[in-house]
């Protein structure tokens, strides 16, 4: 079967910008057909990882392959099968939206008219506007069309939803789910935890250039931490408690508990804990 190789496989990737850290010893695997979220605070190395995969920047340590092809030796073959959307949606300012979309298809040597017009319709792209007349969100839509019109086997999105209104975000994910049903894998970096939780099956968390964990989204968000809100000895307390609840309750002995609620922590609270760990 040709679909055996993982969509993305990174082994011990290290990329430095001169003395500065980019990413350190990063290993990651994205299976075919998966929707994979890549999370991390600003400057963590998400874009660096993605640019290394696409051959925009060179790395000297580690290996990476996409759809079973080595990213260094088969860059062109890889790019044929990939739809990439950069975090900055910038194009040639004097060109019209339609010309940009056609230019991308022409370079690929493909006729993508049908798919492109369907995408433009659904995203509401005005083909006759010049790029320098468009807002960030509208340029992002063009970027989406350019990434999707050739029906790639793998999508790589760098912060795709920043700048899109909620309606467009929903439409964007609807499109991803449709392509995903047809077998395409998707790798997206994001700061928005709720969209990772809603749409991704697996996720990885990166901080300061290093991978902290990678797992199913379900496991990552499952935690024994609880948010506790109580009034103890007349004082209001509100905190996240992680660990043995018996110990927590034992600590209450001899105190007056007026009121207590114990609930699941918010999604961001779980992730903040991943982000901040080790920073102390």
């Amino acid at each position: 079967m040709e679909n055996k190789e993982p969509a993305i496989e990174i082994k011990n990737l290290t990329k430095k910008y001169g003395k500065h850290r980019g990413v350190i010893n990063l290993s990651l695997k994205v299976e075919r057909g998966d929707i994979f979220g890549f999370l991390g605070p600003n400057g963590a190395g998400k874009s660096t990882t993605i640019r290394s995969l696409l051959g925009l920047i060179a790395f000297w340590e580690g290996r990476a392959s996409i759809l079973g092809m080595d990213v260094k030796s088969r860059q062109k073959d890889i790019l044929k099968e990939v739809g990439y959307m950069p975090s900055e949606a910038m194009f040639y300012p004097s060109m019209k939206a339609g010309d940009i979309i056609r230019f991308a298809a022409d370079i690929r040597g493909l006729d993508c008219k049908k798919e492109a017009s369907m995408l433009c319709e659904r995203l509401g792209v005005d083909l006759h506007k010049r790029i320098d007349e468009l807002s960030l969100g509208n340029r992002k839509k063009i970027s989406i069309v350019c990434a999707m019109q050739h029906k790639p086997k793998l999508f790589i999105f760098d912060e795709p939803t920043s700048g899109l209104d909620p309606l467009m975000q929903a439409e964007f994910f609807k499109l991803i789910l449709e392509y995903n049903k047809q077998g395409a894998a998707c790798f997206l970096s994001s700061h928005v935890l709720s969209e990772i939780k809603t749409y991704c099956r697996h996720a990885a968390i990166i901080r300061e250039g290093q991978l902290i964990c990678t797992d199913t989204v379900e496991n990552l968000t499952k935690t024994n931490a609880k948010r506790i809100h109580m009034i103890k000895d007349g004082k209001e307390e509100n905190f996240v408690y992680k660990g043995d609840l018996d110990k927590l309750f034992a600590g209450f002995f001899g105190h007056h508990i007026e009121d207590i609620t114990i609930e699941e922590p918010q999604l961001d609270e779980i992730f903040m804990h991943y982000y901040e760990e080790g920073q102390k």
């Binding site: 920047i57 860059q75 062109k76 950069p86 370079i107």
Partner: protein, 262 residues
């Protein structure tokens, strides 16, 4: 060749502006000659006896008393300098404008080899320079015809061939410089062309720096030399061609493994 066409289109506005400005300015100066003629003729002798200034401008070889001499010393010099500046602007911008304009992530993640990108862009640069020179030369010829001047086709062809090569050399050196930096270095490119232009004039006057003639391409594209000798300086042209090819290859090699970050 999609990218070649794209590149030509992207450059078309700048190309038209430069070509028309340079062409019309020089054509205007040719047409002005009739009104200068009488006064210039009287002064032609003194112009050719101004020592080093005459040498630098080639007026020791050609007399301003004829349109041919006026063309070889004044018009050709203007065309050389302006053409070199145009080539420098094109050369510095060719690759670096993608990074400066943040379009590199779009272009270089399309399935196209970097070598092929560089090649097509360079081809567009060559086309621009050749078209620029063809159109300008055509305008100057029309000027000559209008002035009723006899045209020596061979020396005109030789000069415009040499000046095109000179512009290509300067553009390619700028192209090489731009492959090593992130920003768009238009200013540096213009600086390079003006310095080489000045170097040509100086090395003709000062024996101490005579060897600069091997460095500056303005030396072999000097119209006064070409017109008086009726041929090109083969050795100098070969050096120029060598510099051009080596610059291009280094730029290509460097660009293949360059980190492209927006």
């Amino acid at each position: 060749m999609t990218l070649y066409k794209h590149e030509m289109k992207q450059n078309s506005k700048g190309f038209l502006i430069w070509t028309l400005c340079v062409g019309l300015t020089c054509l205007g100066c040719i047409l002005l000659y009739s009104s200068l003629e009488n006064s210039v003729k009287d002064m032609a002798d003194s112009f050719s006896n101004m020592g080093s200034v005459s040498t630098a401008l080639g007026m020791d070889k050609m007399s301003l008393a004829t349109l041919r001499g006026y063309y070889a010393t004044e018009i050709a010099m203007m065309h050389n300098l302006l053409g070199a500046m145009f080539a420098a602007i094109l050369g510095t911008g060719l690759l670096s404008k993608e990074e400066a304009g943040h379009t590199s992530e779009f272009l270089y993640t399309l399935p196209i080899r970097r070598e092929w990108v560089v090649f097509q862009k360079y081809l567009a640069f060559l086309s621009n320079i050749l078209l620029f020179n063809l159109i300008c030369a055509g305008m100057y010829l029309l000027g000559f015809l209008y002035m009723g001047e006899e045209i020596n086709g061979k020396e005109m062809a030789l000069f415009h061939f040499a000046t095109s090569l000179m512009q290509i050399e300067i553009g390619t050196v700028c192209f090489l410089v731009s492959a090593f930096v992130k920003r768009n270095l238009t200013g540096a490119g213009l600086g390079i062309s003006i310095m080489l232009f000045a170097a040509d004039m100086m090395c003709r006057i000062l024996p101490a720096i005579e060897n600069l003639k091997y460095v500056t391409p303005f030396y072999y594209s000097n119209a006064a030399d070409i017109f008086t000798e009726g041929r090109l300086n083969g050795a100098m042209l070969a050096i120029g061609a060598g510099i051009t090819i080596v610059s291009f290859l280094i730029a290509l090699f460097r660009y293949r493994s360059k980190d492209l970050t927006p």
